[in-house]
């Protein structure tokens, strides 16, 4: 092996430098004169809130966007990257946050896609499979080349993405929030792979807003705020809370102490609840939970283990095949969603853009979506437009929604502001129970902090809250008790003070904790 070769046989990238990158979208300056540099053998974190311009910068590096201005230097030589193909040819690979895999194709087919074949226009999947196995051996990535993507777990799919990049000769890998979809154990395995790659001379760019991961795995960190670079530091020179403040530009509350609140009677009781998925296979089996007044019950689990179906079964959006949903003392199992709403159950849906609001309606209209048909928003079938206007102005003010006016279309707001509109609508009616599904997914640190504060205030007022989340940090931050769901079954419930990420991670993977 020569000096500048990687174990995969490809050439190393010693330095890659972005100089003065600017990207203008109509009305937005997404990147403003950003400099960024990454070297062989380091993990360089790119940190910033949503909309800070991290993804834009990386899409420019990967050739998906053309920069309005700026230059790229590879090993000191200026290069131009006009398409992903150019980037790949220069040894730059990208693992996207949403995997770029074709589910109905096999691992080998996904890897071979877009590459010239050694047999001309015929595919050469046997050779591709062989090379995949070689790479898997070198980098310790266990994978079956003939498996279909849909058969693989999320962690395995990520390995396919890495192999795909290595196969194409990637010496530099852009990792866009790679841990967002993994269990804690999968994250550990992933970090081992990352360390191995760095030791072998790869350069890695790690995009994340999970600060503890950056502290764990990265050598240097560059912070972006509002499209501009704030600075670059060695991770060893900075603490976690300094990093958080640096990113947001102000003090951030990192951990909260939950005040002692006397838990009231059970407001929402699920008894042996079962329902089917969209495909007709069982999604929930025998789920029993009690959520009390004045508590937040966090429901942790890996995506797709019945969380969505549970929320829909409770809110009447999905047919219950077995068991009961009891709201206070009333059995509401087969009630229509409207009737459940009337009984003061509020729902913050996972897909806020699709299920939480109507994009083409104004903010004012979205604010009264749930109660537009009843007094005081409607009288004798007529909308009380003045009342609605006053109500929405109040809420915009109280919840700090950043919008030009109440007449603005909801779809044009940012993710954080849309969630504020949904929260405002669901909370302002003083619900008895709140079902909050992934309430902060995709939100930045500031907006997440706000949503948590709102949920905690509801908890103080005695509302029973079921918070479904795939983010363990969030679950551990504000839940009184934590239930873990795996394949539609509750693996166990632990009080907050007994929960550790390891313990929850095992339960998320389907291990039932030992009785003590």
């Amino acid at each position: 092996m020569t000096e500048n070769k990687l174990p995969s046989g490809h050439t190393r990238i010693d330095t890659l430098e972005l100089r003065g990158i600017t990207k203008r979208f109509p009305g937005v300056l997404a990147n403003d004169n950003v400099n960024f540099e990454v070297r062989s053998g380091e993990v360089h974190a790119l940190l910033g809130e949503n909309g800070a311009g991290k993804s834009t910068l990386m899409k420019i590096l990967y050739g998906l966007y053309d920069p309005s201005d700026g230059e790229v230097f590879l090993n000191g030589k200026k290069i131009t990257i006009e398409s992903p193909t150019d980037a790949i040819n220069h040894g730059i690979g990208m693992i996207h946050q949403h995997f770029m895999l074709v589910e109905t194709l096999t691992v080998a087919e996904n890897v071979a896609l877009g590459l010239p074949s050694s047999r001309g226009f015929l595919t050469d999947l046997d050779k591709v499979s062989q090379r995949i196995l070689e790479l898997a051996e070198i980098y310790g990535l266990k994978i079956d080349p003939d498996a279909y993507i849909w058969q693989l777990s999320v962690g395995q799919q990520q390995r396919v993405e890495i192999i795909k990049a290595l196969y194409r000769g990637a010496a530099l890998l852009i990792l866009d929030e790679p841990t967002a979809v993994l269990t804690p154990q999968e994250v550990d395995e992933f970090f081992i792979i990352m360390r191995q790659m760095v030791a072998d001379g790869h350069a890695l760019i790690f995009i994340s807003h999970k600060l503890h991961e950056i502290m764990d795995i990265c050598d240097r960190v560059t912070v972006l705020r509002d499209g501009a670079k704030v600075g670059t530091k060695n991770v060893s020179d900075i603490t976690k809370s300094e990093l958080a403040n640096w990113m947001v530009g102000r003090e951030v509350i990192m951990t909260r102490d939950l005040d002692e609140i006397n838990r009231g009677p059970s407001r929402l009781t699920l008894e042996n609840l079962a329902c089917d998925s969209d495909r007709g296979t069982p999604a929930l089996r025998d789920v029993s939970l009690k959520i009390h007044s004045g508590e937040i019950l966090g429901l942790a689990g890996i995506s797709g283990n019945g969380q969505r179906e549970l929320a829909e079964a409770i809110t009447g959006l999905r047919e219950v095949t077995k068991g009961k949903v009891i709201l206070e003392d009333e059995d509401i199992t087969h009630f229509a969603p409207g009737k459940i709403t009337e009984r003061m159950l509020s729902y913050i849906p996972e897909e806020r853009m699709r299920d939480g609001m109507i994009k083409n309606f104004t903010i004012a209209e979205n604010m009264v979506l749930r109660e537009h048909h009843i007094s005081p928003f409607a009288e004798k079938g007529f909308l009380m437009l003045k009342t609605i206007a006053r109500h929405s102005d109040d809420l915009i003010d109280k919840f700090g929604v950043k919008t030009p006016s109440r007449e603005t279309k909801a779809g044009s707001l940012s993710g954080g502001n849309i969630q504020k509109v949904v929260l405002a609508r669901e909370i302002s009616r003083k619900p008895r129970v709140i079902v909050a599904a992934q309430p902060t997914r995709g939100l930045d640190v500031g907006a997440t902090e706000y949503v948590h504060a709102q949920l905690l205030e509801q908890r103080r007022d005695g509302t029973a809250i079921l918070m479904i989340s795939e983010d363990l940090d969030e679950i551990m931050a504000i839940s009184d008790r934590i239930a873990v769901i795996c394949e539609g079954e509750i693996m166990g419930i632990v009080p907050r003070y007994e929960a550790t990420p390891e313990k929850l991670g095992l339960m998320m993977a389907g291990v039932v904790p030992e009785e003590n």
Binding site: P84, H96, M100, L101, A112, F121
Partner: protein, 306 residues
């Protein structure tokens, strides 16, 4: 007529009648596999049928007629591709637009250039030596004209291209996850242009197979919705050429059966008999479609989002 002869007759004409379904549905399969629903097949067929017939009628050359149908189909496909890929039009609606254009245009050209129903001498039967001499089977399968053989040959060729070539892999990925394909340097636009134009060509050939190989006339709206059944066959065949073949045979056999019922004066009203294949379409689709998943990106325009 003996029952044996009737059965042979039904099977023989069933094979013949599968021809236009096969060309059109295999073309549509390529389009849908790449994520494009083309509802304009019937219109493309009508223009192909007219072009094929008119050129064959005026020049006396069936080969030139076929070439004209191919060209017209390609131009229609090119227009469809531009509207679908570049303008990102709603595919269901633009397809209907192309259908209506083909329907109206073929009628207009017919009135302007021909005026009356004429006939041509279509492609002659090609008795395949040896195979064509096998009793019964030879008559059913191996005494057809060249366009019939072409349609059946297309099935394994399409299967091979879709499953064994790098092009097939690209088509599949563009129809399932265009973002993924794009991120690997596969040009979504180029692949879709290719499949839509290929679909247009095969639709044109399907039309010509009616006007210069099977019926050997051109009449207004002579396809009478055959192109729409071809679209349904793609669903029926679960986006696989062999499945499409099975569907095409099912429909052509039923069609052949109803034609023979009329020939044999079986006392069923003609209208009911003619309806049979269409009723079958609906019944079969209801039964089969929920079974398989369509390509994920079907009808979805691709936009890199810049």
């Amino acid at each position: 007529m003996t029952p044996e002869l009737v059965i042979i007759g039904i099977l023989t004409s069933g094979i013949r009648l599968a021809t236009p379904y096969l060309y059109a549905a295999i073309g549509e399969t390529f389009g849908q596999r790449s994520g494009v629903l083309n509802l304009g097949v019937d219109g493309q067929m009508l223009l192909g049928a007219f072009a094929g017939f008119y050129v064959a009628f005026t020049t006396g050359s069936l080969e030139l007629g076929l070439l004209a149908a191919i060209l017209v189909g390609a131009v229609m496909g090119l227009a469809m591709a531009f509207v679908t890929v570049n303008l990102q039009a709603e595919q269901g609606i633009s397809g209907i637009g192309f259908y209506l254009f083909g329907l109206g245009m073929s009628e207009l050209l017919f009135k302007m250039l021909l005026g009356t129903v004429e006939t041509v001498k279509g492609f002659p039967s090609l008795h395949i030596p040896f195979l064509g001499d096998i009793p019964v089977l030879g008559e059913i399968f191996f005494q057809h004209n060249v366009m019939v053989y072409g349609a059946f040959l297309l099935v394994p060729v399409a299967w091979f291209v879709l499953n064994k070539t790098t092009l097939g892999l690209k088509i599949h990925s563009v129809g399932e996850n265009p973002e993924a394909a794009d991120s690997l340097g596969v040009s979504v636009a180029r692949i879709r242009y290719f499949t839509i134009i290929l679909g247009g060509i095969l639709s044109g050939v399907a039309g010509a197979s009616l006007s210069i190989a099977l019926l050997n006339v051109f009449q207004q709206n002579m396809t009478s919705g055959l192109g729409f059944i071809a679209v349904a066959l793609v669903y029926f065949g679960a986006w696989r050429p062999w499945g499409v073949l099975a569907g095409a045979l099912l429909f052509s056999m039923v069609n052949s059966l109803q034609l023979w019922m009329q020939v044999l004066n079986i006392p069923i009203p003609t209208e009911i008999a003619i309806m049979l294949p269409y009723i079958l379409t609906i019944v079969v689709l209801v039964i089969t479609v929920s079974r398989v998943r369509s390509p994920s990106a079907l009808t979805k325009p691709f936009d890199r989002g810049e």
